[in-house]
């Protein structure tokens, strides 16, 4: 399980809680890198969540821990097919979202931080981490537009829609703390 970097490429993580803003910022960042960039590695490259969304609605919804494990499986896919090959070729690759967005959401949902750190230890640390600040809380975004939106949609299906608002607030707090500790740099959406 690789944790460090043995390549000449650069891994740029873009974290945040709003899927559409994250995607737009990642695309802009990748364009700005010019020829040295190999593109954006986005959430659900493996199609796991697309398939999950199409599952029989009668089946019980996934729990927060199950969703986090599935995100980790999707990230393992992205690392194998998108991120590591780009790094090995000496390119810069933008991963949006990467580890911290899932950590923020898992932590907001009450999962132990220690478990989240251990779970994602297979993912190499990024060379640089940006955080897309939320312009405002959008309530109308589609569940398919980002991981947080999907996660909240799955949780909402359990009944209380206020739960997703609380989750988002806590996830933003997590990223705010990260920013204060200078573990990520703010990026305007």
């Amino acid at each position: 399980m690789a944790v460090g970097h043995a390549t000449s490429g650069r891994l740029i993580a873009v974290e945040g809680t709003c899927g559409p803003d994250l995607a737009a910022a990642a695309k802009r960042l990748s364009r700005g890198l010019g020829d040295g960039a190999s593109g954006v590695s986005a959430w659900d490259a493996s199609g796991i969540f697309t398939e999950l969304a199409a599952a029989d609605p009668q089946v019980a919804r996934p729990t927060t821990r199950t969703l986090t494990l599935l995100y980790a499986a999707d990230l393992a896919f992205r690392l194998r097919w998108q991120i590591r090959p780009a790094l090995d070729a000496g390119h810069a690759v933008v991963a949006a979202p990467y580890v911290q967005s899932a950590m923020a959401l898992g932590s907001a949902a009450g999962l132990p931080t220690r478990w989240l750190i251990e779970l994602f230890r297979f993912a190499p640390a990024p060379h640089v981490c940006y955080r897309v600040r939320e312009r405002r809380l959008r309530s109308s975004v589609q569940a398919a537009s980002g991981y947080l939106e999907f996660f909240c949609g799955a949780i909402d299906a359990g009944g209380d829609p206020r739960q997703s608002a609380r989750l988002r607030t806590r996830a933003i707090d997590f990223l705010d703390r990260l920013e204060r500790r200078r573990r990520c740099t703010p990026l305007t959406a």
Binding site: S46, T64, T66, L69, F122
Partner: protein, 255 residues
């Protein structure tokens, strides 16, 4: 969780202790005959008047289709293989197994997380990472381990079918012939299982014996096993589940 909350959950668990269901796991390599024994055991338990349900490895209605499609495409790395099976396990634990145990049903599991520990370690993943992926750990009351030699497992499998790509471990052996690959891979898996059996104190059944003799031993060992409280390491998983299912304590009140 506050200390007060922790105490409240523990009191709930203690009150449920006497009526909770038992979790019995059947573990072992492919071709060890554990499915046959699991069926015989379930029939016997039912005849004894117990409420019994079965849970099988990689069988959740939500995650199984995802795993199946990726296995067919031979598209899984060891990490993805591990994480998807862990998601399936967690989903079944939280939506099927814990509710059944809480309601007093005996759950017979055809494979438990030890299957993942043995297979994933045989695939070269770090044991401690795999254990963390499955945390919080939920331990069965009793684990029957069906011990066979790699040759026996290989012969029994070859007599009935061609092992599938991941079953044969072809993703890591790199061997084209599924039978040769299976023999290599299952030897590694059995080595891991044998170590787990010692560390986690499985009840080892010599699966080279006759079906009747194995079944007799299983009954005997099950009857001898004392009813013990939930193991301490199960508390975290139980509290985690209870805190997300506020309706569960009402089941206690009715019991």
């Amino acid at each position: 969780m506050s200390r007060r909350d922790g105490q409240r959950w523990r009191e709930l668990l203690n009150r449920r202790e006497a009526t909770r269901g038992l979790l019995v796991a059947f573990e072992g390599p492919d071709g060890s005959g554990k499915t046959t024994q699991r069926k015989l055991f379930k029939t016997w338990l039912k005849a004894e008047g117990r409420e019994v349900s079965t849970t099988k490895w990689n069988s959740s209605p939500l995650i199984k289709p995802l795993v199946k499609a990726r296995k067919q495409a031979r598209a899984l790395s060891p990490e993805e293989f591990c994480l998807l099976h862990a998601a399936d396990f967690r989903y079944r634990l939280e939506t099927e197994i814990l509710p059944a145990l809480w309601a007093g049903t005996t759950v017979v599991a055809d494979r438990w997380l030890f299957t993942a520990l043995a297979r994933d370690a045989a695939r070269g993943l770090a044991f401690d990472w795999v254990l963390q992926v499955y945390a919080p750990i939920f331990w069965p009351d009793i684990v029957f381990y069906f011990s066979v030699a790699p040759e026996t497992s290989s012969t029994r499998i070859a007599a009935t079918r061609t092992p599938k790509f991941y079953e044969a471990g072809q993703d890591i052996t790199g061997l084209d012939d599924p039978f040769t690959s299976y023999r290599t891979f299952i030897s590694r898996v059995i080595r891991e299982y044998d170590e787990l059996a010692v560390v986690f104190r499985f009840v080892t059944i010599d699966a080279e014996q006759s079906i009747n003799e194995q079944h007799r031993q299983i009954r005997e060992r099950f009857q001898q096993a004392e009813r013990r409280p939930w193991p301490e390491w199960n508390v975290e998983a139980l509290v985690d589940w209870l805190s997300r299912h506020p309706e569960a304590p009402r089941v206690v009140a009715r019991a």
